[in-house]
């Protein structure tokens, strides 16, 4: 097996550490208005003639952009991982059940997946997000923003996992070890989780990694479109959204710097996903 791509691996590790350690590493908490000083607003990044005290510059409120990015990474990675976990959970459960039991279970679950696949995932996420937001009371929106994002992105991606798991479960269900497990009287859930699922772990991992990249893009997109508007907890997408308001007045770094961080993060995950896919592909071994 080839070694993982070093640059992407190291960078992703850095991002994860930044996300976990944001409260310790960041010099400001972006949602804490008391720590801000308007005198520090619109300082460009160091490489464009700024100050070393704000290496990546500041925004209109005098927020340190580096700190905002550290906190934003926390939200982006958090939403991405939880949404992926949700898609994986729903998709594997539905797919394994459909493939193993067949008949009515299979028909119902897979028709449902087919119907959802008629719509692009982003559209489903937008719609679920928008409708949940309309349904929730106004006061609860800030508190539930995170959960609503995770749910709407998670629910939009499960059919891919379901299809993969179903195809695999159908093949595995015919094999002798499954027959043996059935003969000794193991229950269907036990066979599925203890015997069939481990055989899928490689494929699931690759799919989940690709999905993580897509989920983070979806999160950033929803945040950018302002539907998941939550000024108190800006994710990387929200930062780009705020920054793009100053596009025409010359403060380009408000858009470019958080945008670059987002691209870098997604790229690391995509690169690792590619590597894993290649490593597990028997034709390329």
């Amino acid at each position: 097996m080839r070694a993982p791509p070093p640059l992407a691996f190291a960078l992703l590790l850095l991002f994860v550490m930044a996300a976990i350690g944001a409260p310790l590493l960041a010099r400001q908490n972006p949602s804490d208005l008391a720590g801000l000083d308007l005198m520090n607003s619109f300082i460009p990044p160091v490489f464009a003639g700024g100050l070393w005290s704000f290496p990546l510059g500041t925004d209109d409120q005098g927020r340190d952009i580096l700190s905002s990015i550290l906190w934003g990474t926390r939200i982006s990675l958090g939403v991405g991982c939880l949404a992926t976990a949700l898609s994986t959970g729903i998709g594997l459960t539905a797919g394994l059940a459909a493939g193993y039991f067949g008949r009515v279970t299979d028909a119902v679950l897979m028709r449902f997946a087919d119907m959802q696949l008629t719509f692009p995932a982003l559209l489903v996420a937008l719609l679920v997000d928008g409708l949940l937001r309309t349904a929730l009371p106004r006061g609860a929106q800030d508190a539930t923003a995170f959960a609503v994002l995770v749910f709407s992105i998670g629910i939009s991606n499960w059919p891919h996992f379901a299809r993969m798991a179903r195809a695999a479960a159908r093949i595995e269900a015919e094999k002798e070890y499954v027959l043996a497990a059935r003969l000794v009287g193991r229950s269907a859930p036990a066979i599925l989780t203890a015997h069939i699922l481990p055989n899928l772990s490689g494929t699931v991992l690759v799919l989940a990694t690709t999905n993580l990249a897509a989920a983070m893009i979806a999160e950033a997109t929803l945040s950018f479109l302002g539907i998941s508007f939550s000024p108190a907890q800006p994710s990387l997408g929200t930062l780009v959204r705020f920054g793009s308001a100053f596009l025409f007045s010359g403060e380009w770094w408000l858009t470019v710097v958080p945008g670059a961080a987002l691209v870098l993060l997604v790229w690391c995950v995509n690169r690792l996903g590619d590597w894993m896919g290649d490593a597990l592909n028997p034709r390329l071994r």
Binding site: T118, G130, L225
Partner: protein, 331 residues
């Protein structure tokens, strides 16, 4: 062949009816149209009269049947936000989105396929590796960010291209086109590039994999041994075998193009269906949302059908499977 077409349509029909059902459920359970139409002051008699006029006092199953009937006649109700018939709104916005999405798709195929062939043929050259790395970066740039950056460079920085809108349009019947005016074409460049880049990268990667597969087969080795010109080996012999999955992906990605046109249109304030969708979502304008869903599903299912038919036309090997299973579409 006819049997095949009919069976595919019959398979698509339940999916379509389910989508209409989802749209209907949105209609029936999210928000109360009677309250929206009557405003703040009304009597119980007025409420009952309006409900009766809208048919909301009937059983749900009858309401659903009436909804399907109206949908089949192209009637989607009246927008809550704009108080205009939804069908007219959609027809007005459709040309902008269609022109944008089709231009982006053509652009992505025109650039993506040659790039994919090039990276497969010259797979050991460093240029190919660099091109593939660029593709992976392009897949990691969210559409909204790409649009914003393009505006920053080409509109704000260089003043070359407009940053929003559709420019001047020409009306031909009910269709409005921006393709016939200079400002319309200039306005199309940035949105189409934004929308097409992601698809282009996907197509490049798939073309490369398919070409590599095709180049490894026996008949290509034989063609090489015969000393056929390289160009004809790559284009005629290998390219043809790689074509079906590429056509399939390009067509199925059109659904993705429609979804991302929502994002592109809001970045560039492009007056199409996507912008209408976002505005309606913000205002919880259910009739428009429901109609948009039905329209998207109809386009997707039609494309699916067209893909199945065209791949059997392109690849003779699939024709034998016409009577049995539909051709495999998922890769």
């Amino acid at each position: 062949m006819l049997l095949f077409v009919v069976s595919r349509i019959l398979q698509a029909l339940p999916v379509f009816l389910c989508v209409v059902l989802v749209a209907f459920v949105l209609f029936a359970f999210v928000g109360d149209p009677v309250l929206i139409m009557l405003g703040q002051n009304y009597t119980e008699a007025q409420r009952a009269a309006t409900a009766h006029r809208l048919g909301l006092d009937q059983p749900l199953i009858i309401q659903y049947c009436r909804y399907v009937w109206a949908t089949l006649h192209g009637e989607f109700g009246v927008s809550y936000r704009l108080s205009r018939p939804v069908a007219a709104l959609l027809a007005e916005r459709l040309p902008a989105t269609a022109e944008l999405a089709i231009t982006a798709t053509l652009l992505s195929v025109a650039v993506g396929v040659p790039l994919g062939v090039f990276t497969a043929v010259h797979r050991r050259r460093r240029v190919a590796g660099i091109l593939l790395s660029i593709c992976l970066v392009a897949l990691s740039v969210p559409t909204f960010l790409l649009g914003t950056l393009l505006i920053l460079v080409f509109s704000v920085g260089l003043h070359w291209l407009p940053s929003f809108g559709r420019g001047a349009v020409v009306h031909i019947g009910w269709w409005s086109t921006g393709l016939l005016t200079a400002s319309g074409l200039r306005s199309l460049v940035l949105p189409a590039a934004t929308l097409g880049l992601y698809q282009k990268s996907l197509i490049t990667r798939l073309t490369r994999v398919e070409m590599l597969d095709a180049l490894g087969t026996e008949h290509i080795r034989f063609a090489r041994a015969r000393g056929l010109p390289r160009r004809s080996i790559y284009v005629t012999h290998a390219g043809r075998n790689a074509l079906v999955p590429i056509v399939t992906l390009a067509a199925l990605q059109f659904g993705g193009v429609l979804a991302f046109s929502i994002v592109t249109e809001s970045v560039f304030q492009w007056p199409g269906l996507g912008l209408l969708f976002i505005q309606s979502l913000g205002a919880a304008d259910i009739p428009v949302l429901a109609a948009y869903l039905i329209l998207t599903a109809a386009i997707f299912l039609t494309l699916n059908l067209a893909v199945d038919l065209s791949s059997t036309l392109i690849d003779p090997r699939l024709r034998s499977s016409l009577r049995g299973f539909p051709p495999a579409r998922d890769r």
